[in-house]
Amino acid sequence: MTHLPVSVIGGYLGAGKTTLVNHLLRQANGLRLAVLVNEFGELAIDEDLIEAEEDGLISIAGGCICCSFGNDLIGALQRLTQMTPPPEHILVESSGVAIPGAIVSTMLLSEAFRSDGVIVVVDAETVQQSARDDYIGDTITRQLSDAEIVVANKMDLLPAASRDQLMDWLADAAPNAIVLPATRGQVDPAALLGAVPNPGSGSEASHSDRLFEGMVLAPDLGCDTDWLAEQIATGGFGVIRAKGHLRNQSGAMTRIHTVGKRWEVTHATEDHDVGLVCLGYRDALDKSAIMRLVEQSA
């Protein structure tokens, strides 16, 4: 059974979830994204992206779609799996007060889906103040504590001097997350969605742009895949995401996913090329240390 990857995008109202979703739709690059929103009114899809709107389903240029799930997320997700062709990646844009971890737990009740990351968008300028708000403060801190990737949006509005302080604060508030600073939701879709093309052995990952960089690990021999995945996710080597297939020490093919500090190694069929692509910020990705990891894991 294929597990359809689902990313949950949370964050309080005004943080920039919708801007981010529009950006991802615009940059989908042939990837068939399905966007589920809690309610249509919250989602202002840029008009030039909309091809058609029918029966509560918005068709978007490039094969993407968007619909609302109201009170029945599972039902809406299941309807997506029955589409032909099914989407390749699902984005769930949760309501501003939803706790994204709860959405992931519910989604994982069905074996059809795989969590591809809890993304929490915050307004870099106001998040610390909002987190102290009597009404919504604990909602925001709960969202952040569930986050695997934090998109710190509107960084351009933040004075340079405050940026380090924000990063420190986010490191505490979202201890399990990698933080991606952004302006107007401009984040590399590959970094955010793990929609990284499966790498061929030895090839340079093709998605990298000037901000992000990818590298491909393709050891000839099997390695301790659990240890390697854990190190890549938690070792502080600047990897935002890793995805691909490697053989373990007994020679069996495994599928590896890491997002933020979470990692996952599962059994895979033999019909995959060996190769693990790691993606991170160009200036933060410690390529030589990662290469050493591979040697150590052999």
């Binding site: 309610e39 249509f40 009114g41 029945d72 501003g96 007060v97 737990s105």
Partner: protein, 546 residues
């Protein structure tokens, strides 16, 4: 244009100018007059109808917070702790043990022929059974081959058997969900907490996804319950109001023998503030005499016993973390502004005191932006409001509809566990509301508790909990105040007090026909008064003929 004059043992009018009269004249479904026969004779020819000569009449009661889905739920097996009357008038005895629950379910199970038909039950409440956890194994004793699902009284928890879990694909190890506790064997124990956990299983056990809306038969059955409770106008407080359901409700309520006026509110979920206000304004124009559309229900937080209500400091008595917002403050503010600008009324569910404060804090700027005399925005449940909050409601001309019944059914639980003694004593503070000058109604939230305004009034007067304790002596109200709350009081929160709520010239001929006098019986017996039936828009509905 015929006139009928009814005599009665006593007619309680709720009109302070003549609180008690002997006769009421009805013409064209409306009250032509109330008073002595000689005063009414001046209207011309009439027929004197003495069928109510030994009855006590009062204004048809108004249920300001209930859900017509109660009518639909009765098609499932009742397994509640308390005795409860179904739409056909049969009283189902309360079940006092899990064995009794299993026994009744087994009895009903034997009546089903097709072995794959799901068996569904409702109104289970294990808190009265020493909080014993019900598991799938308990329900497997009823059947291991037929899917079974039992909804709890709160509506927030469901118990299912092994077969149901299997059909939903949940009978597997490794389930990791806060709403699905696991048994010692690592498999789901059969309890499902909250809609997220219930939704995947519901369809397999006969509980459809759209549980909040009634269907045609459900609406008819609900109206029967109204007649049995003396209710002539009821809200349906959180409906989806799709085109189909509105069409169904218009057709059913328009039938000549449909005995109640229904006031459905469109719930603020799945639409933006802008959309819902536009939607509801459009609905309003479809209103009929018997179906009053055009109002919005917003939900600020969850429930107190589910620990999802939003609490101010110091929070839950047992230390549980604060609850959840169902609507964010920013969305609430936008809804209030747009609704006030469009002249649409909003009723807001607030359970915890922080949710109440949030609604107050959002309404204030909205009112400044759109000054709206007589808006009558109403807080529903509002169970934990303190005196300062009631004063603030009064200052903003808000109304409140307090959940008196809840105090009986869950008051002990709140005292012991959720909010602790001090706040449990002041829950549903009817006395403070009235003293602060806040127009007040009281409610059942049927199906959460049974529809029955006389019971609700009894509880507001006596404040007795299920264990028999008096909780909150200082918040008791008088019988007269309680009767006002279930008639004019509730009508006022719906902008309907000019049409219903009192027996007075020009109003709808809506009457509750009682076997006894609520103002004369011992206040502790208010709930035991038998309801003969109702008169609605001049049409007579005897409970025993339904």
């Amino acid at each position: 244009m015929s006139t009928t004059i009814y005599s009665a043992r006593k007619i309680i009018t709720m009109n302070p100018n003549q609180p008690v009269v002997s006769h009421v004249a009805v013409r064209d479904g409306r009250i032509l007059g109330a008073g002595a026969l000689k005063d009414l004779e001046g209207w011309g020819d009439y027929t004197l109808d003495e069928r109510f000569a030994d009855k006590v009449l009062m204004p048809g009661m108004v249920e300001g917070h209930a859900h017509t889905m109660e009518g639909t739920l009765w098609r499932n097996v009742y397994v509640g702790w308390f005795d409860r009357m179904d739409p056909d008038g049969k009283v189902w005895s309360g079940l006092k043990s899990i064995d009794d629950v299993v026994g009744r379910l087994s009895e009903e199970e034997r009546k089903l022929e097709d072995p794959s038909t799901p068996l569904s039950g409702w109104a289970l409440d294990p808190i009265y059974m020493d909080n014993r956890r019900v598991t799938r194994h308990d329900l497997d004793r009823v059947s291991s081959s037929r899917p079974i699902g039992i909804l709890h009284a709160s509506g927030h928890i469901m118990n299912v058997n092994t077969k149901a879990l299997e059909l939903a694909g949940l009978l597997k190890p490794g389930v990791n969900h806060p709403g699905i506790p696991l048994g010692d064997d690592g498999l789901p124990a059969g309890e499902l907490y909250g809609p997220d956990a219930m939704t995947p299983v519901g369809p397999h056990v006969g509980f459809d996804r759209a549980l909040t809306d009634c269907d045609e038969r459900g609406l008819i059955d609900y109206a029967k319950l109204c007649v049995r409770a003396g209710v002539t106008t009821s809200t349906d407080l959180a409906a989806q109001l799709t085109d189909d359901s509105v069409a169904m409700m218009l057709e059913v309520t328009g039938r000549p023998d449909f005995p109640a006026r229904i006031v459905p509110l469109r719930v603020f979920f799945g639409m933006s503030a802008e959309e819902i206000v536009t939607y509801v304004v459009k609905l309003k124009s479809q209103s009929t005499e018997q179906l009053r559309l055009g109002r919005i229900k917003a939900v600020a937080d969850g429930s107190i016993q589910g620990f999802s209500a939003r609490m101010r400091w110091p929070g839950y008595y047992n230390g549980a973390p604060n609850g959840l917002w169902y609507t964010s403050p920013d969305q609430m503010l936008e809804l209030y502004k747009r609704a006030l600008a469009a002249g649409v009324q909003v009723h807001t569910h607030t359970n915890g005191d922080q949710a109440t404060q949030m609604a107050l804090d959002m309404l204030e700027p909205a009112l400044k932006a759109h000054p709206s005399p007589d808006h009558r925005f109403t807080l529903q449940h509002c169970q934990l409001a303190d005196a300062a909050q009631f004063r603030q409601m009064a200052a903003m001309d808000m109304c409140v509809n307090l959940f008196a019944n809840h105090h009986f059914y869950w008051g002990d639980e709140h005292y012991r566990l959720t909010v602790g003694p001090e706040r449990a004593e002041r829950m549903n503070a009817c006395r403070t509301a009235l003293a602060s000058g806040v127009p007040m109604a009281i409610h059942s939230d049927a199906p959460v508790t049974p529809l029955g305004p006389l019971f609700t009034a009894w509880e507001a007067v006596n404040r007795i909990t299920a264990s028999g304790r008096t909780q909150g002596e200082g918040e008791k109200i008088s019988v007269a105040e309680a009767l006002y709350a279930i008639t004019i009081g509730a009508a006022y929160t719906l902008h309907l007090d000019h049409e219903i709520g009192s027996i007075e010239i020009g109003k709808k001929a809506d009457l509750a026909v009682l076997e006894d006098d609520p103002t004369e019986v011992d206040p502790t017996e208010l709930k035991d008064i038998k309801v003969w039936g109702t008169v609605q828009n001049g049409r007579i509905f005897a409970a025993e003929d339904l």
